[in-house]
């Protein structure tokens, strides 16, 4: 429950940071990193991650689904790959890289994409640990 509240709020703050200081310093796509990490940590999170991704796109790109489209594909791909290959880390890493590589295609520089990756990985790790603790 805490994750469902905190991550969207942090993502919203991240969107604001992106807009407020976009030229002052190189920044990651804070919202994408947090939402992607939540999705990779627990695929059922798509229920709230997808609307958040739509809001992210609406604010930053004035369109309905740029990152959101990728976010919609990830849980489906996770279900498919987990079913065929078994739950595993490599396919999730590939999906994460694919999602982050959409950033350069949207006009972000490579440094921002790398920063997003650097933020996504530890958040993913933290959330996975959190979910494991909850399950135990």
């Amino acid at each position: 429950m805490i994750i469902v509240t905190v991550i969207p709020l942090l993502a919203l703050l991240g969107i604001s940071l992106n807009m407020a200081f976009s030229t002052a310093m190189s920044q990651p796509d804070w919202a994408l990193a947090l939402l992607l990490a939540s999705l990779l940590a627990h695929r059922n999170n798509w229920l709230w991650v997808l609307p958040c991704a739509l809001i992210h796109d609406l604010i930053l790109y004035w369109s309905f689904g740029t990152i959101a489209l990728m976010m919609a594909i990830i849980p489906l791909a996770m279900i498919y790959l987990d079913h065929h290959l078994g739950a595993g880390l490599p396919q999730r890493i590939v999906l994460m890289l694919a999602a982050i590589l959409t950033l350069p295609a949207l006009g972000w520089d490579m440094q921002a994409a790398l920063l997003t990756l650097c933020l996504c990985v530890p958040v993913w790790h933290l959330l996975t640990r959190q979910y494991a603790r909850q399950a135990a």
Partner: protein
């Protein structure tokens, strides 16, 4: 039975993806971005407070040093002003020669840039500016930036000339050329340039004033590439904007004098 269920699921997933792709092509407008301005104000506030506090605590010696530096700067600027005055006179004469009319019929005012979209070209901006209306023209010290898309009290979002939905009528002064500049995301495409009068790389396009939205005579783009297309009447011309608004803190807004409709809160 199982197979039919799985096939239905696949159909549903396929439809969902196609639906999402269709939605992603929709242009949603800038209202969502505009709703973020209170958050941007809050984020900017500590920086402004820091600057204010910093001003209070500057030491005396530092102030004296700053005074001397500023005095020297003022002297330098006096020289620059003289140079500017002579350039202004030269510019006026050149304008007369080129028969470019001065931009009249517009009210000019300054706008502070509050936020911008994060890609390096900053294709969308939020300005803090009162008394503007939709489609007012935004100009930097170098050239055309875009038009106002949505407004709220004291804030407005800007569609820059990189936006594909914005077409700017352009010309090259002293020629019969009449073309349209369209945004391509991170560059500009100049449409309807006949091959036989295609300009050269490096030439600058100015607003022609056609259509009445943009005042005539504002620099828009510099040509980066001209390619003839075999069998086509028009050349393929690429350009980049003259204005570099990615780092400008202030921009100018030109409001048409005869149609100023200001935003009023109910």
């Amino acid at each position: 039975m199982n197979f039919t269920q799985r096939s239905h699921k696949l159909w549903l997933i396929g439809l969902l993806l196609v639906g999402l792709f269709a939605i992603s092509r929709l242009f949603a407008g800038s209202s969502a971005m505009l709703t973020m301005w209170p958050a941007l104000e809050v984020l900017h506030a500590p920086v402004q407070w820091w600057q204010s506090v910093d001003l209070w605590f500057i030491e005396r010696q530092k102030l004296q040093q700053q005074y001397l530096t500023l005095e020297k700067k003022a002297q330098d600027q006096a020289a620059v002003i003289q140079e500017v005055n002579s350039l202004r006179e030269e510019n006026r004469q050149l304008r007369n020669i080129l028969e470019i009319s001065n931009i009249i019929g517009y009210r000019w005012h300054a706008a502070k840039v509050r936020g911008r979209s994060p890609e390096p070209m900053s294709q969308r901006l939020i300005l803090q500016v009162p008394d503007v209306s939709k489609d007012d023209v935004i100009v930097s010290s170098e050239g055309l930036v875009g038009v106002i898309d949505t407004i709220s009290s004291n804030h407005a979002t800007v569609r820059t000339i990189f936006d594909a939905s914005l077409a700017v009528p352009v010309t090259i002064p002293g020629t019969q050329l009449a073309a349209l500049s369209r945004g391509q995301g991170d560059s500009l495409s100049i449409n309807f340039i006949p091959l036989e009068i295609a300009p050269r790389k490096g030439q600058v396009f100015y607003t022609s004033g056609a259509g009445g939205l943009f005042p005539a005579g504002i620099a828009v783009a510099v040509i980066t590439d001209v390619q003839p297309i075999p069998g086509q009447l028009f050349a393929e011309v690429s350009a980049k904007p003259i204005a570099h608004w990615q780092r400008d803190s202030w921009l100018a807004v030109a409001s048409q004098l005869h149609s100023i409709q200001t935003f009023t809160t109910p």
